[in-house]
Every structure is written in C-alpha cells, then in structure tokens.
Symmetry: C3
Subunit: 201 residues, 3 copies
C-alpha cells in the first residue's frame, strides 16, 4: 500500500520536474535529470534525516525507472512549451500530498516521535519541489504566495493524529494526501494569500 502510494508521488513529482524542464527548454538529458531529481529528492532527504543508508529509492530500481519513463513520456507527448506552468503546479500538488503523508508514516515506522515524524513528513513533501526550483533557478515554490508548507504540515498532522488514535495507517495516509492536495489546489485556484509586509509610507 505504502509502496503504491509512494510510486504515485514519484510519478507526480517526476512529471512536475519534467514539465518544468520542458518549459525551461532543456534537452532530453536535462529533462531526465530534473525528473529524477524531483521524483527522488524528497525521499532521499527523508532517508538522510532518518539515517536510512543508503536511501531506499537508490536501492531498488522501480523508483528510478518510473522517473525515467515519466521523463520520456512527458518529453515526447508535450510538444507545446507554452502554458506548462499550471500542469507543473498540479503535478507538484499531488507529489506534495503523497510525500508529506508517506514520509510521516515512514518516520513513525522507524520510531521517530510523532512531532519529529510530522516535521520530517513535511520536509519530505517540500524537498522534491525545492530541488527542482533551485536547479532551475526559479523562485522556490515553497516561498511563493499560495499555501504550500502549511498544506504539507496539515497532511502530516492528519497522519500523526491517526497514529495517536491508533487508526489503520493505510486509509489515514490516503486521507492525509487528499487533504494536502485539496488545500493546495484550492489555494492555487482561489489565490488564497497570506498577508504581505506593509509598504513603507
């Protein structure tokens, strides 16, 4: 179950990386590198923080294979460079949700305290997109105007509460992912903004 959820997150993040790379007019290799970095980045960060050596996603081939296939499919089926900003953000939202919750579940499995597990889950969700934006020298999505880190934290907290209430982890992880994705997409769609600094006057 967790594996299936995580593969979905990898595909979503790999697609967001590949789409962003196509938009930035990178060549096929650049698209593949960015798909792999975005798809595996969050999980590698999670494993480094939890002390899982070597990182899980570098130990079995399906994760990497899924990223490369996603990159190829994206590259060949997305001829139009224009207007890729929105698909990037939607794919990113799915990756964010799935990784934030699966990261929390994995941290709990490794006996991290609930508080720590939620923070590591949030970091797992944020990591892939941050790596993608840093490599492309874009404003990191986590600093942009719409709710991002908070959405990831919300999903992690859903999982943390489910754990404390001893609910079954599978459905809880799915619920958490849905919460993150919903909040993030609503924030993008409705342009939910937080206050900005007052202008000097």
């Amino acid at each position: 179950m967790l594996l299936a959820l995580e593969l979905i997150g990898v595909v979503a993040f790999a697609a967001s990386g590949a789409l962003a790379a196509v938009q930035a007019r990178l060549d096929l290799f650049g698209v593949a590198v960015l798909a792999v970095t975005t798809g595996l980045g969050g999980g590698i960060l999670r494993d480094v923080l939890l002390g899982v050596h070597p990182p899980t996603t570098l130990r079995t081939w399906p994760f990497l294979a899924v990223c490369v296939v996603t990159a190829l499919v994206t590259f060949y089926f997305h001829p139009q460079i224009a207007r890729l900003r929105k698909p990037v953000l939607v794919a990113d939202a799915f990756g964010l949700g799935v990784f934030a919750t699966s990261g929390t579940v994995i941290a709990l499995d490794l006996n991290a305290p609930v508080y720590t597990a939620c923070l590591i889950g949030m970091t797992t969700g944020i990591g892939g997109g941050a790596a993608r934006d840093l490599l492309l020298r874009e404003i990191p999505v986590v600093l942009r105007k719409e709710i991002y880190a908070l959405a990831a934290l919300l999903g992690a907290v859903v999982v943390g509460l489910g754990y404390l209430l001893k609910l079954p982890m599978g459905p809880v992880a799915i619920l958490g992912s849905v919460v993150v994705i919903t909040v993030r997409l609503l924030a993008l769609w409705r342009k939910w903004n937080a206050p900005v600094p007052r202008d000097p006057s």
Copy 2:
C-alpha cells in the same frame, strides 16, 4: 548552557531569515518558512554530517517554536521594507558566531577529532545563511567580499584550542562566539576585503 547559547543562535538566524524575507516582499508564510530554514538549517546540516538521526532540532519543539515566534514578531514589527540589509547582516553575524562554536562543541562531545570538529563547527555556522541566500536566490553571504567563513573558522579554532588545553567549555564557547561576531562586524564595518583577481590588461 549550550542549549541557551544555541537558542540565541536560532533566534539570530531566524531573525536574519525573516528580515531577508520581508525585504524580498514574501508573504507571512514565506517569512515563516525562511525563518525556520535559516534558524534550523545549520543545526540540521551539522547533525547530518555527524550522523545524529533524527536531527536534534526536529526532536524538541522549542527550536521550531522560537523560529515561528521570531518570524511573527519580525513580520509585525518591521513595517518598513527599506534598509533591512544591515539588520539582516548583523543578525546573521550573531548566528554565525554562536553556531560555529556550539557546532564545534557538539562535534567534540560526539568524539569527533579536533580537526574535524572545527570544520563541522564552521560548516554549522555557514549553513543557515547559505540556505537562506540560496532560497532567495541572492549571492550567498559566504561568497561576498567581507570575511565570513574565516571568521567562523576562527571561532571554531578557539573552541578547539580550549578543548586541547582542557579549559572549561562553557566560557570558551562564549569567547569563541564573541571572537566571530567581533571579527565579522568589524569586517562589515571597516569593509575588510581580501584581494580580488587582477583585471585583464
């Protein structure tokens, strides 16, 4: 003692991150994310290098709480966006000093050799500011003209020498922090510069 010193460093770095975020006109969430990243970044990097899993600052709540409170206070009490460059650098100097020395002490506590402990201390000091500047896509402070990494190394070496001379670590750490902060602020104030490459002629 070490905990108090480290909380001071976290506040200083969180303030520098929050001020830089306000200057970059990020919204409240962006300010909080940058305060947390800058405040906790160096310590997380240190723990990853030392193999402390999960990182200390993700295990107890005061560190995160202090960052969020600093972000809120900075956001609401700093209405003027202009002229925040100097406060960012001053707060950064305090964080640099405290983290470089406390990082060295912690590495020594974990039985790292003195040489390694000094390098890890320096890296701890540099880490938070580098993360802040990378996320904001600014020239990393560690590459700017005035003495930075060298100041951090100096503080780490003070602690290393104190350790070799079996002096009490508390006062030594404070002395090291004061040395870093003094050198760094003097370098900023007096514009101490290193030589630059000769122009082609």
Copy 3:
C-alpha cells in the same frame, strides 16, 4: 591507489571551482570557499548517502589542504579573468570522471548493492559541480546541453561491471575515469546534443 585517484579528483574539482570563482570576480576568500566546496562537496554528499560519519574528507587534513593550495595557485597564476569558461569545464570533466568511479568503488567497499553503488557513484561525480554552480547562481552544469550525468553513469557502470566480473578494482577505476573524461570532453568538443522540446507552432 584509490586515495591517489581521489586526490586527483579533488584537485580537478577545486581548480574548476577556483577558476569559476575568479571568473565571477570573487575575492581570495570567495575563491578559497568555492574551491573547497567544489573539491569536497561530492565526497561529503557520498558519505552522507552511505552513512559514513563524519565524512572522510573532513577527517584527514590533506583533502582540505589540497583545495586551499589549488585555490591559491589558481588565484595567483590566473590573472586573466576572460576566457576561463573552457578551463572550468575541462577541470570539471576530470573531477567528474574520477569521483564517479571512486565513489562507486567506495560504495561497493561498504557493501552497497551494485545498482545502488553505480547511482551513488554518479551522484558523487555530479555533486561538486552542482554545488559550485548553485553557489555561483549559474545554470547547473548537469542541466546544460552536453552529456554530463550520463557520462558519469557510464563510468560508474564500467566499475560495476568490473566488480561483477571480479576484475582488479584499481585498473577498472582508472578505465572508468578515462571513459567518463573522454565522453565528456568529446561531448563538449563535438557539441553532442540531445533532442530539445519542439517549439509550439
């Protein structure tokens, strides 16, 4: 043998970092910081992924010393700022080759599976240059048009195959490095490009 190979890689990457820093008109400290980061970055990343704490390159002084000496020599013997782009890329190619193969050998020594060792080797090769470019806010070399990550992977696979065939690791590592450097330099020289996204029409 492996140590000698790795010191060559450190010198190559340190030189590429120092040259890039001179080109960016950083001062002597900035040149040193960038030489150290580029020279040691890949190895530190490798050790973090493999769980070697603290990282090898922070434990013995020759690695750091070699970076600092390389920075000084580069700084004082490279007065012309112009036309440093090519030397940066050539030095980078040597670092890429040596680190990709030595990283794979080290991962195999630590009992990583062959598949994992190849990926960690590739990451080790890519890490130093990526850190250099991120700090300088340049387009990361790994995303630029000519074959880069694939060349590193090729060298890692040569080592992996040599290991499976139980060949002596020393010559295999040298062969792998030569393969990477040759492929990378040919790609730069002949401008081997991968396909780019089709323009919208």
